[in-house]
Symmetry: C2
Subunit: 276 residues, 2 copies
Amino acid sequence: MTNIAICAPATPITREQADALNELVAAEFPMHNVTFHDQCFELDGHFAGPDLRRLEALLECANDPAYDAVWFAKGGYGSNRIAEAAVAQMNTAARAKTYVGFSDAGYLLAALYRHGIGQSVHGSMPVSARSEGGREAVRRVLRWFAGDNSGLEPSVDGKTPVAAFNLITLSMIAGTPMMPDLSGHVVMVEEVSEHLYSIDRLFFNLAGSLPRVAGLRLGSVTNVPENYREFTQSPEEIAKFWCARAGIPYLGRAEIGHTSANRVVPFGLASPSKAS
Amino acid sequence: MTNIAICAPATPITREQADALNELVAAEFPMHNVTFHDQCFELDGHFAGPDLRRLEALLECANDPAYDAVWFAKGGYGSNRIAEAAVAQMNTAARAKTYVGFSDAGYLLAALYRHGIGQSVHGSMPVSARSEGGREAVRRVLRWFAGDNSGLEPSVDGKTPVAAFNLITLSMIAGTPMMPDLSGHVVMVEEVSEHLYSIDRLFFNLAGSLPRVAGLRLGSVTNVPENYREFTQSPEEIAKFWCARAGIPYLGRAEIGHTSANRVVPFGLASPSKAS
């Protein structure tokens, strides 16, 4: 039995999206119990409620010893606004938990990982449970909660610590007090809906600000907008160029990203869920 | 007589844009002499020539004692790729020069300022000389080259050091080896064509990574794309929010940005052009 609390530190989901996850869990994962915090469905401007409301919901989920894990409902934008306050207020129960999400949730995964709170995990989120492809991505997380590592990113070997981030999210974290020490890590990055020149610019930023990492892997780069002028370098050529300039070993692709192929990446040294 | 060399460290301009500047200078600023490097008109994919070609042209302009100033022809994207190599190869003549540009040229202004090379100046660029409004912005720079400070950003008082940047450019520089020490400075930022959530995210990054600056001023924020959901906070509300969180004095607006009102901001302590 894994008791999973779901909250939305950035943007809201719909009741229909929650229902789709509930149905999937009931049908295929009876060993899990998922609980959506009401805050998941609130809306305040861009966000799933004001900062304080999202912070409160996250802390209620994290600090409650009844839950084994906190699953972030959806990305979007906004978890950076509450991440530092959240980690500062987490209790002993929060420190024994697993936290799963990706994209904008990377701010929280980073802050938690920096402060050694629980197990940060890159993985797909409840919002994806309505589509056929998204459901398979969500199943990988639910299987991993059950101790089944088949949905792990294939390069994860349990020997070299790893971390996975959305590219712009990692770039925005770099230099702030929530940046974890990624030295010695294989860092995986993925991106969606950014121009290629912007991706080049983000790699420039990270090439100049990452510590001595063990290497970089490039996840999927999807939904790239057309620019008025072609960039001519592919995302992988861009990644290789900046890795070469920065002396970072480029280790190839990673199966992470804003696609249904998105795999699970437990930060640090890979392990089955502690909650299983 | 100010001898001004023009090169394009990011993206190219057209011959018509160069002609417009030449005509403006001939008609109204006979005390100046502007020389366009041929590289300004080259095209290689996204850029005004390959990295090495743009670097070579910039160094030819900067290291030639015949020129008093280097004026960057246009922004776009790309000067970050050559900025570190450029400052590493600059000679004594380069150290006595004035460098003018903004937007993407901010990477060069930052690297030059960090290394104490010449005088970095935020100002409009030759590419703008074809339109009525752009010409007035360009005139402010040409007047400043002539020792006329009437086009300076009004808050510049010669007592507190200042620097002006495009917001995302400064965010991408932060944490890299080309970031100047901006402690004690009034930092001005402007932005164009970014979503409001992206502007919020960039302020988050800078709030967590800037040193103890004297204050922040917000320039114009223009051409903001519509988002699928309204952000509800205005650019100035966003700036005030993050300044308050970070303990940075918010000092009000600055007349800088991607508009014809763009004013001149000499980095550090304001002064008329050394070349005048």
